[in-house]
């Protein structure tokens, strides 16, 4: 029998009192009411730990870096007690054949019952040669492990959307997970990286309730991605008042005015930064004086400057924003109207003096 979370925690010398505290903290961080605390405790006491296989494709490891800094719950608790992180080539001790053997073992022993967590994405061009894991293209490993998984978590903007390696012209054809795996439930946890507490929160939810968190149309957990940064931003009163920073060193910047005119993407970005914040709730980009760059949104790397409010339109091939395109069109048509009016006036006067219409 595999140990339950509770057994593992007790074995580690955690008291029942601390365990219950942990359950209420977890409930709070998931936005659940006190009524859920006993349910979480019950689940942890009775459910065996779920094996998680964590694969790495084309990525920068920022998701792993974020994950290990989780404070509520501590990443240590998540990794050691809640899940059984059986394979994660970046942080596991085993290497080479030993590591691949574990992968195989979990896949057969827990067929259809393990969770596949993917960090990064597979490149498809050059037959996948831009990312080789264990001597094979990553796409092969991904498809192989996904086959018997219960569900897939797409960590970060790489696995969810493609991220920087998929930026135009995307030479390696880096492709997000949902565009190569179609037959499994996929939970997108975008962000570059995603917030640590969001990552552990998603895992905790899945394990305690034995189901996927409620997802939005684009496959993101609603509890963390249901609102925009702008909806909960502490600078929002300055936005509504019409008080904006206009340069990085002006009076407005010093007074902590809204960063909208500096290109803040908070109004178009779904993430939990303005509520959960970063590094254990210490701060988040806007609090540190820089606008949101929209790192959890699809294609944020290709949407023009981080510092423009009205961003460039890539479709036209040239660098121009809506105001430049529209202004030019209006100018041309305006000039045409003036010219047309002039000719019309001449014609009208000729008609008048001529044959009277």
């Amino acid at each position: 029998m595999v140990e339950t979370f509770y057994e593992v925690m007790r074995r580690q010398g955690i008291t029942r009192r601390s365990f219950l505290k942990y359950c209420s903290l977890t409930a709070a961080s998931l936005g659940l009411g006190p009524a859920f605390v006993p349910r979480i405790a019950h689940a942890m006491e009775t459910k065996p730990r779920t094996p998680v296989l964590w694969l790495h494709g084309l990525e920068c490891t920022c998701c792993s870096e974020s994950f290990i800094r989780s404070g509520h719950p501590l990443a240590k608790d998540a990794v050691l007690s809640m899940i059984s992180l059986d394979y994660d080539d970046t942080i596991m001790t085993a290497a080479g054949h030993q590591a691949e053997a574990i992968l195989k073992e979990v896949m057969t022993k827990y067929k259809g019952n393990y969770i596949l967590a993917v960090e990064g994405n597979p490149p498809l061009n050059q037959e996948g040669m831009s990312c080789i894991i264990g001597g094979k293209p990553f796409i092969e490993q991904l498809k192989h492990v996904a086959k018997d998984a219960k569900a897939i978590i797409s960590w970060g903007s790489c696995a969810s959307w493609g991220c920087v390696q998929a930026a135009k012209p995307n030479p390696t054809q880096a492709t997000p997970v949902h565009k190569v795996i179609f037959d499994k439930p996929i939970i997108k946890v975008p962000g570059c990286p995603p917030i640590a507490e969001v990552m552990t929160g998603v895992i905790t939810y899945m394990l305690t309730f034995d189901r996927l968190p409620e997802l939005d149309r684009q496959g993101r957990p609603k509890m963390f991605y249901g609102q925009r940064i702008h909806d909960k931003c502490y600078r929002r009163p300055h936005f509504d008042a019409g008080q904006f920073a206009e340069a990085w060193d002006d009076e407005g910047s010093r007074k902590g005015y809204c960063l909208y005119k500096m290109g803040c993407k908070g109004p178009t970005t779904y993430n939990a930064c303005s509520t959960v914040r970063w590094n254990g709730g210490v701060s988040f980009p806007i609090q540190s004086g820089h606008g949101c760059i929209g790192c959890s949104e699809d294609g944020f790397w290709d949407k023009g400057s981080f510092y423009d409010r009205v961003t460039d339109i890539q479709q036209f091939g040239v660098e121009a924003n809506a105001d430049k395109v529209g202004g030019a069109a209006l100018g041309v048509v305006g000039a045409a109207v003036v010219a047309h009016a002039a000719v019309s006036a001449i014609k009208q006067s000729k008609n008048k003096s001529g044959n009277d219409q």
Partner: protein, 238 residues
Amino acid sequence: MLSSQDMQEAAAHGRSVKAVYVYEAPVRLWHWVNALAITVLALSGWFIASPLPSQPGEASANFLMGYIRFAHFAAGYMLLVGFLGRLYWAFVGNHHARQLFVLPIFNGTWWKEVVFELRWYLFLERNPKKYVGHNPLAQFSMFTLFLTTTLFMIVTGFALYGEGAQEGSWSHTLFTSWVIPLFGQSQDVHTWHHLGLWVMGLFVLVHVYAAIREDIMSRQSMVSTMLSGWRMFKDDKP
């Protein structure tokens, strides 16, 4: 109702009738309410994208951006409600009320008339024709430029509105939930919604110019028709 309307028209195309009642009161009312709403939307939309210089004083003492956005959303609702009313009138009103919504694209003569009007605007025709309703070219541009743009702005506008109103609101359910995924993300919807401002601006520029020009140069009344509903003809010739 229709038949009498048709009789009047037949008569107008014939000889001596000098005035025909074309735009019923609801259409005229809608026209001016709609024009007002679009003016407010264009101005407030511009200042949403490029806000005015910062307001002095405490944030709690100011609400400028809030008021501008409120004006935008209120006018947005006006546009929507007006549009629905106008759509209803297309069913119950006279047949000119339908011109905005249906292009007779399978009608060869209608296309000929479009070309004729084009030639008139290009100074290739010496004398204009008489039209009781919209002239075919005007109808064409109202459908392609005005109607489609308005629909596009309503759909993208309420999709953006639903983001603020959040899940569970009618605008989120009806629009945001599918429009944002369709465009990819919210920033794209903003960009296209913003482009719509300029397309609408183009329509208004050309439309107002053409209305005034036709008022002077054509053989029928224009601006006063949108005020009183009566189309007056300036001569008796067919």
